[in-house]
């Protein structure tokens, strides 16, 4: 899918939680996150993380130098979940 769009001259980037699948498929640019499937953009209500993942992916459009580029997002799933819990407890406190 991504390769088909890139072939048409439109720059693309994907986010992935399955590094092995990404390495087999060879998309032009990808960001790998060591997160749970179905949670490509992080954890509930953690807007900053969701936004950071989108912006990191889009930055690869400008920064990737060769096709097949895979950028490793520098955060573990455990860190994302911990931050998510903090965000949620702050939201509850604000209610």
């Amino acid at each position: 899918m991504q390769r088909v769009i890139e072939k048409r001259g439109i720059p693309t980037v994907s986010v992935s939680v399955a590094l092995d699948v990404t390495l087999h498929i060879k998309p032009p640019r990808a960001v790998f996150l060591p997160f749970m499937m179905g949670h490509l953009f992080g954890v509930p209500f953690h807007k900053n993380l969701q936004r950071e993942i989108i912006l990191t992916a889009l930055s690869r459009i400008e920064q990737a130098k060769q096709s097949g580029d895979v950028y490793f997002f520098p955060k573990t799933w455990a860190q994302a979940r911990k931050e998510g819990k903090e965000v949620e407890s702050n939201l509850e406190a604000a209610d």
């Binding site: 890139e6 439109i10 986010v15 749970m36 509930p44 969701q50 936004r51 989108i54």
Partner: protein, 165 residues
Amino acid sequence: MEKSNEEKQLRPGLWATVNERYPGSMITKTDFIPLAKLIKPLAESRLSFVSTSGVQLRGTLPFDTAHPIGDYTFRAVPSNSKTSDLEIHQLKYPTAGAERDLNVIYPIERMQELAAEKIIGELAPNFYSFIGYNMDAERLERTLAETIADAVEAEKPDVVLLAPA
């Protein structure tokens, strides 16, 4: 795959596991697609989004999540949709997070905010969604991928973000 990479993935061995059970269903490419160039800054670029999450507008025909070889259709989702107008029809990934906040799999609100702040120029009129459970990889590439690419390209995006759930 190098062991170091194997260890980085939360659920390792996905490609091999699925391909063992459904031979030929997983795609392998040996070549790389030449990089297309961004022709204007992101702040002036139109963004499109393609997702395998099975997210769709409430009231549209639900994806056939029970079909043994998958559903080879897609849905256009207006990029100005509210998350309360959307629902998920997909069985093949954990939706624990998405049920509480759809943005973890389909970050439509974050993209709307980035466009409103002009960090991204604008959003394409529609985003596109299908389900990742498609067992006939050749059919997927020959039909669905090309059809979605036609729909995406017609809206003249400068950049496309893809999210294989």
